[in-house]
Amino acid sequence: MNRPDQHVGAVIHQANFIAGNALEVPTLKVLAQDGSIYPNAALPEIDKDLALKIYDTMVFTRVLDERMVASQRQGRISFYMTCKGEEASIIGSAAALTDHDMIMAQYREHAALRYRGFTTANFMNQMFSNAKDLGKGRQMPIHYGSNELNYMTISSPLATQIPQATGYAYGQRLQGNQALTLCYFGEGAASEGDFHAGLNMAAVLKAPAIFYCRNNGYAISTSTDEQYAGDGIAPRGVGYGIETIRVDGNDCLAVLLATQEARKYALAHNKPVLIEAMSYRLGAHSTSDDPSGYRSKDEEELWAKIDGVQRFKLWLEQQGWWTEEQESERYQAYREEVLRELKVAEKIEPPSLQELVTDVYAEVPAHLSQQLEQLETHIAKYPSAYPSASKGAK
């Protein structure tokens, strides 16, 4: 029942506006820059195994990013995007989940996929669009996905995954299997209408989803002051009646803690949670981008200094769980592995010509079979003009 007194809290008799910055949003920090824990800080549930798995994923991601940017420069792959600067944020949040939880990401979160178990070969096959790519060579590099690992295939149109995450989580709730959906998106994507729809619906329909905003300062060249005029994305949570927390995205322990708590809350109450992780996109937007056109080296250096990987490593060392020796060994091992798998993947043939028409529908309809047939006839006339025929793939 809609009652006249429903929304009436306090009554005022002067036209006092609530200021645009009325809501104070504090930031959760656990790990200081020197690798120590803040006095009185709560700790996430973490043991040595988990800590090392997190750090291992960080190292792998750094190596992968470095290698693939180089490969793109060499013309071996067409495109790449790094998650440099946001590893702590991405891996810390992924580590708070169980494998049954669904991850719906934007694109810059391959570290979470690695954390889930995507192999180096899996990565390479996708980026080289070869016959072993789970996505059958149909999407640009970094558009990974894996049903087995509960990691939804990336879609380029921004923010579309947000209301989808709401639906996915709603389905999970109805099935009652204590799993939820974590949805990543950038502070830029949060300007899309789909963000609004997804969060509001999640709150109203009680979908156990964690909406995880990676606020990394930029949407391509657009800085946050041209993206929003409020205090970031967190205050919007309150607009939807959603429990919200802001966290230092370069603080892996804070991210882990916030996400663990969010997961418990979401499942216990069948409600969404919004997390805003403050971090910085240390690299270019993508290999097609040159950030020197829109931001200063000074700014980049300021952020590089508070890097989350370094911070986490210092903490590991203080725990006695990691040494410089292990560090260089692991980097070395991953560099070799990535290079080795890269060389394997780039030699694997492309998907067969038939894959041009599969998966448009569950079965190939008549008109697509005909189009494929005509194409095959045509290619047979000009085999040298088409890679599929000239490379002998099929």
Binding site: G145, A197, L205, H367
Partner: protein, 325 residues
């Protein structure tokens, strides 16, 4: 068998689908307790609970985004868009997401269980925002099926087939017929195969092709033509994407003439695609140009609706012109 109007037939199909599979969900604006502004989901919330039949907030892009996620999760969402005129905020979710979900993931994920229902079409004094027939925006989008029933029996069978189909289906309901079309409908579950056109009445001189509420008007024109001794073969396309080229081509090969009529404006309407395809397939059999009798190339008007629409008189005149070509 029971006598049902088109709304009852749809309500009945939804009811059977929900009873059969607890993963079937119905939702949309005002769909829950109230049963939808046209009442097609009437009684379903009472029967199956609020978790399975519910109101959503007022956001079409959200409804379809949510439905895509649900379908990917394994549920069977039946999402309602209150009027087809209001499907456009969801266009990105349908065209870039629903339609490409399976393809882009290499079949790792799909939304094949999704059905989107929406009332379309004119004839209800609804003006430009309650009368549109936007099917052609979707028939040009690989990855979705598009279905339009013409009467209660067809509506139930096609809707049940759409729910069972392992592809996302856009199901357009002719709202002008919701209460006006009444017919015998089996009470038990049944399906009408998607992708097959139906020869509604055989004929020899010209093929008349349409779908949805337009079928009634085409049949009226065919009756007028019959009085003049012109024998029309009337075909209901039923599934617009992917469409049944063979049935249409076979008919036109026989009759030598084709007229297509739809409510949407002429230019860019789906009749153009059909005409292009059939011209190609039946080039040597065509005895006159393929005729398209459609809405004018304007938004849908209000007060001049009668003049605007592709009515039986315009179709009748076009039949004669085709025969006398």
């Amino acid at each position: 068998m029971a006598e049902m109007n088109l709304l009852h037939a749809i309500n009945n199909a939804l009811d059977l689908a929900m009873a059969d599979n607890e993963r079937v969900l119905c939702f949309g604006e005002d769909v829950g307790h109230f049963g939808g502004v046209f009442r097609s989901t009437s009684g379903l919330q009472d029967k199956y609970g609020k978790d399975r039949c519910f109101n959503t907030p007022l956001t079409e892009q959200g409804i379809i985004g949510f439905a895509n996620g649900l379908a990917a999760q394994g549920a069977v969402p039946i999402a309602e868009i209150q009027f087809a005129d209001y499907i456009f905020p969801a266009f990105d979710q349908i065209v870039n997401e629903t339609a490409k979900f399976r393809y882009r993931s290499g079949n790792e994920f799909d939304v094949g269980s999704l059905v989107i229902r929406t009332p379309y079409g004119g004839g209800i004094a609804g003006g430009l925002y309650h009368s549109q027939s936007p099917e052609a925006y979707f028939t040009g989008t690989p990855g979705i099926k598009v279905v339009v029933p013409r009467n209660p029996y067809q509506a139930k069978g096609l809707l049940m087939a759409s729910i069972a189909d392992d592809n996302p289906v856009l199901f357009f309901e002719p709202k002008r017929l919701y209460r006006a079309a009444i017919g015998e409908v089996p009470e038990e579950a049944y399906q009408i195969e998607l992708g097959k056109a139906e020869v509604v009445s055989p004929g020899t001189d010209i093929t008349l092709l349409g779908w949805g509420a337009q079928m009634e008007i085409i049949e009226k024109a065919a009756a007028m033509a019959a009085e003049q001794g012109i024998s029309c073969e009337v075909i209901d396309l039923r599934t617009l994407a992917p469409w049944d080229v063979d049935t249409v081509a076979e008919s036109v090969t026989k009759t030598g003439r084709l007229l297509i009529s739809h409510e949407a404006p002429l230019t860019g309407g789906f009749a153009g695609e059909i005409s292009a395809t059939i011209s190609d397939k039946c080039f040597l059999h065509l005895e006159s140009p393929i005729s398209r009798v459609c809405g004018l190339d304007t938004p849908y008007p209000l007060i001049q609706e009668k003049e605007y629409v592709a009515d039986h008189l315009k179709i009748f005149e076009a039949i004669k012109a085709s025969i006398n070509f």
